[in-house]
């Protein structure tokens, strides 16, 4: 399948999105709500490009993270209109996330310093990109979701305080582009969404491994034994070495 991006013909594999084709060709398209490992969302709209199926057709603005590559498609990624759209979108996002280093950087790259709009009264730095809720769904916990509608929407536990479903895996905090999800690790204790988990110490080194709740969830989803998760990789590798050494005759060093 051949399509042209910014005039350059590029090969695309079936099922690939315009974003994947563009990035493979080294074209830098900004994204915020996109994550290769999670279901595409198409909400932040930063990755929009202009596409045309026929030369005389008016260009259509589509999100490249969702738009599938098609044979013969004509795509432009950095037209003046697109740059203006991205600048405005980042300007708007600054009203929500003035404290986000990533968004400030992206905005600066598009010529936007402080927001020219009216900022949110108490900005939470959350841009409602739902990467966190999608990660939580992928992990299988479904502990958090978007509550409310429109601009009032916010990422929340059920009934604001019900963290029962959370397993303390930390994926939500890890994927959040603006870092507005608090995760505190002190020794074995891990505090997130207002709940404190105790990470199980490694049987060998005492280092923290994963939480018991996370292990239970993994075991339920994969059938692996729940107590098989509580050794760090360092510790377990050592155990593996000892096991192999035993198998080949302890320490004599003679050829097998």
């Amino acid at each position: 399948m051949i399509l042209t991006i910014n005039g350059r013909p590029l090969a695309a594999r079936p099922g690939e999105t315009l974003l994947q084709v563009a990035r493979r060709a080294g074209i830098d398209l900004p994204t915020l709500c996109h994550h290769e490992g999670l279901e595409a969302w198409g909400g932040c709209r930063l990755c929009v490009v202009e596409m045309r199926r026929h030369p005389d057709e008016a260009p259509k603005v589509v999100p490249s993270c969702l738009q599938a590559a098609e044979d013969g498609l004509r795509v432009e990624t950095h037209t003046e209109n697109l740059l203006r759209i991205r600048a405005t979108l980042l300007d708007l996002l600054l009203t929500r996330a003035p404290g986000s280093e990533l968004i400030r950087r992206l905005a600066l790259e598009h010529g936007v310093g402080d927001t020219t709009f009216v900022p949110q009264a108490e900005p939470s730095n959350c841009i409602l990109c739902t990467l966190c809720t999608r990660a939580c769904a992928a992990v299988g916990a479904f502990a958090i979701s978007t509550a409310g509608r429109g601009a009032e929407g916010e990422i929340s536990l059920p009934f604001v305080d019900d963290a029962d479903a959370c397993v303390g895996c930390g994926s939500c905090a890890a994927v959040c582009p603006t870092g507005c999800i608090e995760l505190k690790d002190e020794g074995l204790a891990r505090t997130i969404w207002g709940r404190t988990f105790q990470r199980v110490p490694c049987e060998v080194s005492g280092e923290p491994t994963i939480t018991r709740e996370h292990a239970a969830l993994l075991s339920k989803r994969t059938g692996l034994p729940t107590d098989g998760f509580f050794v760090t990789d360092e510790g377990r590798r050592r155990q593996t070495a000892d096991t192999i050494a035993a198998l080949v005759g302890v320490g004599e060093g003679r050829a097998a």
């Binding site: 909400g43 930063l46 929009v48 009216v118 509608r149």
Partner: protein, 631 residues
């Protein structure tokens, strides 16, 4: 109620027997039981008529029907067979009105009926009208769909069948292949009445040809009736659902047969409880009569229908959001493709059409595509129901052929502007549409002309505005509406509308500058081009169209700091004129207690402390208070 109809012949036999048994010239009192007339107490009225008929031992049928369309003059009563039309019956004096109608009109022999003048419709020129067809509101209309509303009892399958109901279904199942039914709809030129005007036949074709996942062995496809009707100011779907639910069912059955769908959903918005009740009854009756479920009319065709209710979300009018809602999720739009026709409800091909689109289908199959294509304009076929509301004398549902002019609708049918004021604009297409000025009054209304004029057909809401409506405030109203209804998924709509809201509030609250207009005109295209779904993409239309046709009003709000229409509180002044008789009612009612004056003497408003809440102006019975633009 009705036992199962085994086959097509039995259906026609039942129809013939109903028609024979129906004494066409037997007197009947048809009382409108739509939501509008119910609000004016038509239920109590119907009871009174039944009691009156019994007391007088009259051989007269008292029938509660669906919405006649002329809602503002409700409760509406039509005396069959002579079609004598009475309005506002029982509003002021129920017993007297009922007695006089029964004794003078109903009891008299046909042709010798006496008319009760007090309850007659009078033209603006004061001329009393006797028959429904002569009332200007109805005379200029071409009521194909709405004709059922006045005639049949919406809760009676027999009434619908007697008036030709399910004949199209019999014809299709008996002598047409699904392909032929689909070809008929394509040839008719019917376009979606939901708002975008996408050719219905082509949409059905996509769903019919899409390959479907198999559910218990057979391909599963769905047909859905979009009865979300979220556009404020539009209520034609409501009247069709309440007045002729079987018409919608028959349309869905024909669509399912043509497309090859086995199940269907009617998604009704939560604010229409009566429509849900009537639909649920119609479905139960149809199932009992063998018109729904397995082996319909003995032809082996199987189709079942469910009613699901929305729960208060305008965005659910958008197809993929609607699908999300029926699936038990948030009503949030999804990227397309895949279009619902290919992958909709639970991944199965789903054809979604608006109520009014579905109810056109039986007419097309019954009378043929050529007949339908003969109505309307080159690009837009058939009739369209508009809900004509706002500052117009005759508010209600207007069904006219595509191509009727705005002037024809607003003046001839609508009876001109209320209280003789000046026409300023008509808003069409709801929050996705625009406001058209007087210069566009001669526009022949159809899908393409409205879009060209910067507005949209939308579902057919037509809100007439006079000189006392401020266009800047209307644009502010729509932006505030859309801020509440945005689903919040994408940045341009969620956060862009908030900022457009701030800019509009600056304008109506007197803080607007020329920079405000520049910012609006810079932000609007971004919201339009980058938003995910039609809600966001069309959200700037009301602002852009009012800027286009009423820029002078924006400039008045900026440069002169005045609201010419007297609406925007920050830019108007309430002043008592010498017409004041000193009755003191304004001083008593004023919540801020800023009106002073002795009994019988000219009163004075302390304009500095007045919050311009408008209470004095509304309570003053001598129209002595002027609303002056500016502060």
């Amino acid at each position: 109620m009705s036992e199962r109809i085994p086959n097509l012949a039995a259906l026609e036999a039942w129809r013939a027997s109903l028609q024979a048994a129906h004494d066409a010239n037997r007197k009947a009192i048809a009382i409108c039981a739509g939501t509008g007339c119910k609000a004016y107490g038509s239920d109590k009225l119907a009871e009174a008529f039944r009691k009156g008929v019994a007391e007088r031992g009259l051989d007269v049928d008292v029938r509660a029907t669906g919405c006649h369309g002329f809602c503002e003059r409700g409760p509406l009563v039509v005396i069959y067979p002579s079609m004598i039309f009475y309005q506002e019956v029982g509003r002021k004096n129920l017993a007297k009105d009922v007695a006089e109608i029964l004794d003078q009109t109903v009891a008299a022999a046909p042709g010798a009926e006496q008319i009760v003048p007090r309850l007659q419709y009078k033209t603006p020129a004061g001329e009393a009208v006797v028959h429904e067809r002569d009332v200007p509101f109805y005379k200029h209309q071409n009521r194909l769909i709405l004709s059922f509303n006045g005639k049949i009892d919406p809760e009676s399958l027999a009434d619908y069948v007697r008036n030709g109901g399910y004949r199209a279904l019999g014809k299709a199942l008996g002598s047409m292949t699904p392909e032929q039914v689909l070809a008929e709809v394509e040839a008719s030129g019917l376009r979606g009445r939901g708002g975008a005007g996408f050719p219905t036949g082509r949409k059905w074709r996509f769903t019919r040809t899409a390959d479907a996942p198999r559910v218990d062995g057979r391909p599963m496809k769905y047909v859905v009736c979009n009865a979300d009707e979220g556009d404020p100011g539009a209520f034609m779907d409501r009247s069709v659902l309440e007045g002729n639910p079987h018409g919608v069912l028959e349309g869905l059955l024909l669509g399912a047969y043509a497309i090859g769908a086995r199940e269907g959903y009617v998604y009704v918005r939560n604010e229409y409880p009566l429509a849900v009740q009537r639909l649920t009854k119609a479905i139960a009756d149809a199932r009992a009569a063998g018109l729904l479920g397995d082996d319909i009319l003995g032809t082996g065709f199987a189709f079942d229908l469910h009613v699901t209710r929305g729960a208060g979300a305008f965005v659910c009018g958008e197809e993929t959001a609607l699908i999300g809602s029926v699936e038990g999720n948030k009503g949030q739009p999804r990227f397309r493709p895949p279009y619902p026709a290919v992958s909709g409800l639970w991944g199965c091909p789903t054809n979604i059409n608006n109520v009014e689109t579905w109810v056109n289908v039986p007419l097309i199959v019954d009378r043929g595509a050529a007949w339908f294509a003969g109505i309307g304009t080159a690009g837009s076929k058939g009739t369209k129901i508009f809900s004509l509301v706002g500052k117009v004398n005759h508010t209600g549902l207007v069904e006219v052929p595509m191509g009727a002019s705005l002037r024809h609708i607003v003046e001839h049918i609508g009876g001109g502007i209320k209280d003789g004021r000046a026409f300023k604009a008509v808003q069409t297409g709801g929050p996705s549409g625009g406001c058209l000025p007087e210069s566009m009054l001669d526009l022949e209304v159809d899908f393409d002309t409205l879009t060209a004029a910067g507005s949209m057909m939308g579902s057919g809401g037509m809100i007439v505005m006079d000189d006392r409506t401020c266009m800047v405030d209307v644009a502010r109203y729509f932006i505030d509406f859309l801020i509440q209804e945005s689903c919040g998924k994408c940045t341009p709509c969620r956060d862009g509308l908030i900022q457009m809201g701030h800019l509009m509030h600056d304008l109506v609250e007197g803080r607007g500058t020329h920079a405000t207009l520049d910012r609006l005109e810079a932000l609007a295209p971004v919201v339009r081009d980058a938003s995910l779904c039609a809600l966001g993409q069309t959200a700037p239309n009301p602002v852009l169209s009012t800027l286009k046709y009423f820029r002078h009003e924006y400039l008045a709000h900026i440069d002169d700091k005045q609201c010419p229409a007297g609406v925007c509180k920050a830019l108007i002044t309430y002043r008592i004129t010498d017409r004041c008789t000193g009755c003191t009612i304004c001083a008593v009612q004023c919540p801020e207690k800023v009106i002073t004056g002795e009994k019988k003497a000219l009163h004075l408003i302390d304009e500095a402390r007045c919050t311009r809440c408008g209470v004095c102006h509304s309570v003053c019975t001598f129209d002595a208070i002027d609303i002056l633009p500016g502060r």
